[in-house]
């Protein structure tokens, strides 16, 4: 079955083409589109399961050679090949699984949207590119997927392109990704010129022998790859695009900006783990950036009023956790958190989607024009939308790290490994501290979100409340499944202390072997310190949640119109540390000014056109004018010139 893994890519691709054709020719054929879109995904999921079963059987990776992509020379001979191994199968299952759930949800969510077929075409195309990225056997092939998902996120974020803000957000997302891609490209060149190969298998085999451990080369390659990951997975320098990406439809945010695309960065780091493990300094950078992102994103999340913005910053923060894990060498913890995060974050986003959907319908029915995504207009929805409430509550508990649920296990393992790595260098301890603080804040803002949306009384006006009702079955169905997965997700990698078999650890063992060989082993805290850490984590979760609920429900929540202007720290948080404005004023603004006035007007038009081109024209004219001065019309002048000529000729003839 694994040999047909390329079907998982082909099916969504065909789906995208079919939907695209329908979008162009018969956009109203909604039934057919809703059949093709999710249908294709479910089929891909089935194939994925088949492939997973087969991969479970073998240790090595199965390489499926489709065709030679760039047969240039013996050394640069890139094949379009897929590599199916334990790691890519995990991602494959997550992408196709969560993907199909989100496709089902979208049927309900996007039903009334005229661009229905176009939406599904883009969504299918996205899944196809994501799978190319995950299954790619070499860096360039993954790079196709890497940029392809960037393209689809550009198209999907800017889906309602009529509104300028949306298309701006799309462009911003693509450019931020592109800056990251610059890093990956240069890393590829370095890898090829040093290791002579771009295949993952080749890198794993030759990296240790060729690149000196801790050498500048390995560090530079690793950091460049990490630059790519920050672009794609929205880490500190390049995270600005993710919050704006909420301009796209909510299922898109769920699929792309929670479950799949943003995790591509983590996947790439794990996939090229050998390079990172050869550069401990780069690992520290990854860890500390992850921790910092987790901390700062969490602080911003505290003061956001738009439900999707809160979830967006929560995603950035959770991604920070994953990079913290990978940075401290715990590859499995990173992947484990990636999987569990995919479950509960997708659930949160879809839940928010059904809330927004309901609010839209209510506003539409009443003709009100308040912002359907602003939590201040909501409140007390637990009675109107019981199922959404219950499932989102499960997800909130999971993400907060309440013991027993998936979030607790994955987050705790990350913090533990960061703490363990602490004895190598204090950087990890600082990172661990930031991680713990971020965990507290995560619990707080999730509680705040639940409180403002579901508890208290509905602040959006009486008649609107009447129209609020639960989302249709096709939307709540996927929620239920995701809820179950969030509950059960922890079993994937139960830590030993709780008697678990650390199943995911063993599952990924063969793939991560080359990387782990180079790292000095991570001796996780055991005995008393371990229990202390566990206890601490539980304490944080509980304190965060109670604080969140008590603080928000305690004070009356003002409507958007009469919220007092924030001051001091609140203004800083609400304004998202003014990072966007900073980039605009310091980088984008001057660059545009420079290229317009200095380069274009100044150099191109003035220096070259005026001086060089027009200058030479004027020179020719000048010479011409000089010549004309000689024609004075005086016969005498002509004769004298003639005479001078005669004298000279005679002089030459006779003088000689």
């Amino acid at each position: 079955m694994a040999r047909f893994a390329w079907l998982t890519i082909l099916l969504p691709l065909l789906g995208a083409l079919a939907n695209g054709f329908l979008a162009a020719r018969r956009p109203s054929a909604k039934r057919l589109v809703s059949l093709i879109g999710p249908g294709v995904l479910l089929a891909a999921f089935a194939v994925a399961i088949g492939a997973a079963i087969e991969v479970a059987g073998t240790e090595e990776a199965i390489r499926i050679q489709l065709w030679t992509w760039m047969p240039v020379t013996e050394r640069l001979h890139i094949d379009l090949a897929l590599q199916l191994d334990r790691l890519s199968v995990v991602l494959l299952l997550v992408v196709t699984g969560v993907g199909s759930l989100i496709h089902l949800f979208s049927i309900g969510y996007m039903r009334s949207d005229p661009g229905y077929a176009r939406y599904f075409a883009y969504l299918n195309l996205f899944v196809a590119f994501m799978l190319i990225l995950v299954l790619g056997a070499s860096l360039p092939v993954s790079f196709i997927g890497w940029e392809g998902v960037g393209l689809c996120s550009y198209l999907l974020i800017g889906f309602w392109f009529e509104v300028d803000a949306n298309s701006d957000a799309g462009k911003k997302a693509f450019l931020a990704n592109r800056i990251g891609d610059f890093g990956v490209l240069v890393a590829m060149f370095l890898i090829w010129w040093t290791l002579g190969t771009l295949d993952y298998a080749g890198i794993d085999a030759t990296a240790a022998a060729t690149l000196p451990l801790g050498g500048t080369l390995a560090t530079v390659i690793a950091l460049l790859l990490f630059l790519g990951c920050t672009g794609k997975s929205a880490q500190i320098p390049l995270f600005v695009w993710l919050p704006d990406a909420m301009a796209g439809p909510t299922p898109v945010s769920a699929l792309i900006h929670a479950a799949t695309m943003v995790t591509a960065g983590v996947f790439l780091v794990v996939r090229t783990g050998v390079l990172f493990s050869l550069a401990p300094f780069a690992m520290e950078i990854v860890a500390i950036t992850g921790a910092l992102t987790a901390f700062f994103a969490a602080t911003i999340g505290l003061r956001q009023y738009d439900i999707k913005k809160v979830l967006a910053y929560s995603t950035v923060s959770q991604l920070g956790y994953m990079f913290l894990a990978v940075g401290s060498g715990a590859w499995t913890a990173g992947i484990f958190h990636l999987v569990t995060h995919a479950f509960f974050k997708a659930l949160l986003f879809l839940g928010a989607g059904s809330v927004i959907h309901a609010m839209h319908h209510a506003h539409h029915a009443v003709g009100a024009h308040d912002d359907a995504q602003d939590m201040r207009n909501m409140g007390g929805l637990r009675t109107a939308m019981p199922w959404t409430f219950r499932l989102m509550m499960i997800a909130t508990l999971a993400i907060a790290g309440v013991p027993g649920l998936s979030g607790f296990f994955s987050k705790d393992e990350i913090l533990a490994s960061a703490f363990a790595r602490g004895d190598h260098s204090t950087v990890y301890l600082v990172a661990w501290g930031l991680g713990v603080a971020a965990a507290l804040m995560t619990a707080y803002y999730m509680a705040r979100l639940m409180a403002m949306t579901f508890y208290g009384t509905f602040r959006g006006g009486g008649e609107v409340e009447g129209h609020l009702h639960e989302a249709p079955a096709v939307m709540t169905g996927p929620l239920v499944v995701l809820g179950g997965l969030s509950l059960v997700g922890g079993l994937l990698n139960l830590p030993a202390v709780v008697g678990g078999g650390q199943w995911l650890e063993h599952w990924l063992e063969p793939v991560l072997a080359p990387a782990n060989l180079l790292l000095d082993p991570l001796h996780l805290p055991h005995g008393t310190t371990e229990y202390l850490l566990l206890g601490g984590a539980i304490l944080i979760a509980v304190v965060g949640l109670t604080l969140g609920f008590r603080m928000t429900l305690g004070r009356p929540i003002p409507l958007p119109a009469d919220t007092p202007a924030p001051r001091g720290l609140a203004r800083l948080l609400e304004g998202k540390y003014f990072v966007d404005e900073f980039y605009q004023r310091v980088i984008v603004g001057p660059l545009v000014w420079f290229s317009k006035t200095v380069l274009w007007r100044g150099f191109d038009q003035f220096v070259i056109d005026r001086i060089a081109v027009a200058g030479s024209a004027r020179l020719a004219q000048g010479l011409g004018w000089l010549g004309s001065r000689l024609q004075t019309g005086q016969v005498a002048l002509y004769v004298s010139l003639f005479a001078v000529g005669a004298v000279l000729v005679l002089r030459a003839l006779i003088g000689g």
Binding site: E147, T206, L211, L217, V592
Partner: protein, 519 residues
């Protein structure tokens, strides 16, 4: 297929027919009534394409030497002969121009309504000139075709251009002409030097190449002359200001031809003439570094300037300058990968910029304006055109999976060994190209539908789809399966690099046992 072609003695007559057919049809177009002008041009272009495509199979990819060579004495006493031939470097360019011919004619079906006979006659002359430049193996013949191109291009821009066309046309001709005059002097001087050294004064490329070491003492001046002529044509950084004007003012057919073929003559010239004739000087460190730096400066400069262009065509023109900077970087990267990449960029740039110009032309035919500000939210009114533009824009940005990426990737990875810092700077252009093209796409297609005048523009007509479909298909095909093209250019590229390598210090491997790395 080869057997069939061999059976009809394809390789003996194909090159002559390709050259002669447009010229033969020229008088026809001029004499017959106006109605037939377009149709004759189209039939000629289609036959050229059908015949020309035979080259794809008849060309033997494994042998790097010149093929289909014919050497007929012409002006015997001066040693000038009608010498024509093709090899790995030029076969793809010939195929590209042959394939683009019918598209160009069909593309300007509606755009040109005045003086059609003159336009199509000039177009045919342009075709012969283009093919001639790539096929000529005799310096005199090469120069003749090189100049032959200027006149039709001048009239195409001058007569059918838009507002400020005369300035643009004159600037274009003078720029190119000044450059190529130097080349003429260099050619003559070269023939004399080689003639003195060997006794036979001949313009044959093979003859001059064979004893090019005689040229070594004068190598610097001769190379500078050749380089200037080609630099203007490429265009390399300081000599590029004619391109935006020429492109903005030219009619669609004119700017497509300009972008697809004429720009490649410069780079082809470097690969075929400038470097092989004077390798010692051309590949010395100083020259190599200056050319590569100029190329990279050109890439970044043009990308930045393109970002702030108010006019669509001017934006695409600057993007061409940026893309061709890659080709020059690839040529001086002097590894098989970078040279192959350079040729690939030449082809894929032709296709993607050609398609961009077609779409802009279609927009111009509808709204008669090229200002980005006049458009807005066209995706609602013309979804098909929006999709085509997005695909072409992304292929021009270099999205992997489309044709732009293959060439750029090979150039960058190939030249990284020789000029690591420059390649890193060139890679930043990846970001800028995304910036300016996306910004333009957004302002034209994906924002508020404000301007009522845009209401009337219909979506792509059947004809327009027929023009764009093959181009988009080619983009996806080359993007995913460039193998056959790379194979056809590999033999000659390898031969070129072997010749070049003997003059270059070995590109110092970054890690001592780098070559051992192959698993």
């Amino acid at each position: 297929m080869q057997a069939f072609l061999a059976s009809i003695g394809y390789e003996h007559w194909i090159l002559h027919v390709l050259l002669a057919l447009p010229m033969a049809a020229l008088p026809l177009v001029l004499l017959l009534p106006v109605r037939f002008a377009r149709w004759i041009a189209l039939t000629v272009a289609l036959t050229e394409m059908i015949l020309g495509l035979g080259l794809w199979w008849a060309f033997d990819a494994s042998n790097p030497a010149l093929q289909f060579v014919t050497d007929v004495p012409w002006l015997e006493q001066f040693g000038i002969g009608y010498r024509v031939g093709v090899d790995g470097l030029s076969v793809m360019m010939v195929l590209l121009s042959v394939v683009m011919m019918p598209l160009v004619v069909w593309g300007s079906w509606k755009g040109i309504d005045t003086k059609q006979r003159g336009f199509y006659a000039l177009l045919l002359a342009l075709k012969t000139g283009m093919l001639g430049v790539f096929l000529a193996l005799d310096m005199f013949l090469f120069y003749m075709f090189w100049e032959l191109l200027l006149i039709p291009m001048y009239f195409t821009i001058g007569i059918w251009g838009s507002s400020n066309r005369l300035y643009a046309a004159t600037k274009f001709v003078i720029y190119t002409f000044v450059g190529s005059l130097l080349m003429l002097v260099a050619i003559l001087w070269m023939v004399k030097i080689v003639g003195d050294a060997t006794g036979t004064y001949s313009f044959a490329y093979t003859h001059l190449l064979a004893n090019s070491q005689a040229l070594a003492p004068y190598g610097s001046w001769l190379f500078v002359a050749f380089a200037l002529a080609f630099a203007v044509k490429v265009p390399i950084f300081p000599f590029h200001t004619w391109l935006p004007d020429a492109h903005t003012e030219a009619p669609t057919a004119g700017s497509v031809d300009l972008a697809v073929i004429l720009l490649k003559m410069g780079t082809y010239g470097f690969l075929r003439f400038a470097i092989p004739f004077f390798p010692a000087f051309a590949l010395s460190d100083a020259v190599g570094l200056t050319m590569a730096t100029l190329a990279v400066v050109g890439i970044i400069y043009a990308a930045l300037v393109a970002m702030v262009q108010p006019d669509l065509k001017r934006l695409v023109a600057y993007s061409s300058v940026s893309h061709l900077g890659f080709v020059i970087l690839g040529i001086w990267g002097s590894t098989v990968e970078s040279v192959q990449g350079a040729i690939m960029v030449m082809i894929s740039h032709g296709i993607s910029t050609g398609a961009l110009f077609f779409i802009i032309g279609m927009l111009y035919e509808r709204r008669h304006t090229r200002k980005i500000a006049d458009y807005g939210g066209l995706a609602r009114v013309a979804p098909l055109m929006a999709t085509a533009f997005v695909i072409t824009a992304f292929s021009s940005i270099g999205l992997p999976g489309l044709n732009g990426f293959v060439g750029e990737f090979l150039v960058l990875i190939g030249s990284f060994g020789r000029y690591p810092i420059l390649v890193v700077c060139a890679t930043t252009a990846v970001v800028f190209s995304a910036a300016y093209l996306l910004w333009a796409t957004q302002r034209v297609f994906f924002n508020r539908f404000t301007n009522p005048k845009n209401e009337g523009i219909g979506d792509l007509s059947g004809r327009e789809i027929a023009v764009l479909a093959p181009l988009i298909a080619a983009m996806i095909w080359i993007g995913l399966y460039p193998g056959p093209i790379l194979r056809r250019t590999e033999a000659s590229a390898r031969q070129y690099v072997e010749m070049v390598e003997s003059y270059l210090p070995p590109a110092e491997p970054i890690i001592a046992n780098r070559t051992g790395g192959q698993p």
